[in-house]
């Protein structure tokens, strides 16, 4: 577990260095994820330790958003000032985005691939 955590932190660090070094707007951990993904492709998969540690972390991913999410309390006044348009826009556009994405994917993935369907 410790060696897996060290590995994850090392990839995050590499991601931060690249993001800051190149002045990218992409967060360092996202670059770290891409680097680790590349390393896994090259290496042919994660070891048991890394897989278990990742599972544990991701199982409780919800917990990790709670401190930042609670920050909403600081912006109550900003939101209250225009709460009608903001609430309507958040609800409407979040549901629309989920709906459109799912319907597009469903429509596109239903179509059988002509090249593959004839193969055994």
């Amino acid at each position: 577990m410790i060696s897996a955590l060290t590995l994850l932190l090392a990839f995050q660090l590499a991601g931060e260095v690249i993001a800051r070094g190149l002045g990218l707007q992409v967060p360092g951990p996202v670059i770290g994820m891409a680097l680790l993904f590349g390393a896994l492709l090259l290496r042919g998969g994660p070891g048991e330790d890394l897989r278990q540690t990742a599972d544990k972390l991701l199982q409780h991913l919800s917990l990790l958003f709670i401190p930042a999410g609670t920050g909403i309390v600081m912006y109550g006044e900003l939101i209250a000032a225009e709460w009608v348009p903001l609430t309507a826009a958040l609800l409407g556009s979040t549901f629309l985005a989920i709906g459109v994405t799912m319907l597009v994917l469903k429509a596109l993935s239903k179509r059988p691939k002509t090249g593959q369907s004839t193969q055994p």
């Binding site: 996202v30 994820m33 993904f37 909403i72 939101i79 826009a89 556009s93 994405t101 469903k106």
Partner: protein, 244 residues
């Protein structure tokens, strides 16, 4: 309160121990309720825990910053957890590859829907320019949304709050949309919630399955990139088109 109790409270409310313990307790209590309601979407643990903590901070007159001094130890783990998303992505890679074309098309259409519909609804109901520009990047992860909103004339702090609310709305609402639109495929469920509701949606997707989580993580990352690259020219173009 007696003097000793007051002293204890002064110590505790300034110590990181309190914020950290409260965060873990709120999460456990919220998760217990979520399980007790048979995983009802409206009992979403992130939403419940945030509501509990907000109430406790308000009742105890605790400043968010001093709460975060403790809670930051949990918050810090978001970094390595984000890196760890590479592992489910690797596991799902064979299926991801076969869906590459449809995923790219759904990404572009879903991302545009998120931005344009937020702008349209907000503008119709009279939101200010600063609010509209803070709303536009609400479907992507906080650091990207804040960085994108500011040069457009949005408020980074408002953008951050709207991002969080979007995540909770997506996580609570998505199960209803799955049922209503009859979407059973975990890959499609995950991709949509990750695209529209970033990390909080991705956390919700991991409660469905590892496959849903992996597709959510992919959508979150790609929509973050797409939004960071496209919004700086979509929004000025849109405003010019509408003559605002």
């Amino acid at each position: 309160m007696t003097p000793q109790l007051t002293e204890l409270w002064v110590y505790l409310s300034a110590s990181p121990l309190l914020g950290l313990t409260l965060t873990l307790m709120a999460y456990q209590a919220a998760f217990w309720l979520y399980r007790r309601t048979g995983f009802h979407p409206l009992a979403n643990p992130v939403m419940l825990a945030i509501a509990m903590l907000a109430t406790v901070l308000w009742l105890g007159d605790i400043d968010y910053r001093s709460y975060f001094d403790g809670a930051q130890f949990v918050h810090f783990l978001l970094g390595p957890a984000t890196v760890a998303l590479a592992i489910p992505l690797y596991t799902q890679w064979p299926r991801l590859k076969t869906m590459a074309g449809p995923l790219v098309i759904a990404l572009v259409l879903g991302s545009l829907t998120a931005v344009l519909s937020a702008y349209a609804i907000g503008a119709m109901l009279g939101a200010s320019h600063a609010s509209l520009m803070s709303l536009a990047p609400k479907s992507v992860t906080t650091p990207i949304a804040m960085a994108v909103a500011e040069p457009l004339g949005g408020l980074p702090a408002l953008a951050a709050a709207l991002v969080m609310l979007t995540g909770v709305i997506g996580a609570v609402g998505a199960p209803y949309l799955y049922r209503w639109l009859r979407i059973g495929d975990h890959a499609i469920r995950g991709f949509a919630i990750g695209l529209a509701a970033h990390g909080i949606g991705t956390a919700r997707a991991f409660q469905i399955s590892e496959q849903a989580g992996a597709f959510a993580a992919l959508a979150m990352g790609l929509n973050g990139l797409l939004t960071a690259l496209s919004l700086p020219w979509i929004m000025p173009w849109l405003e010019r088109l509408l003559g605002r």
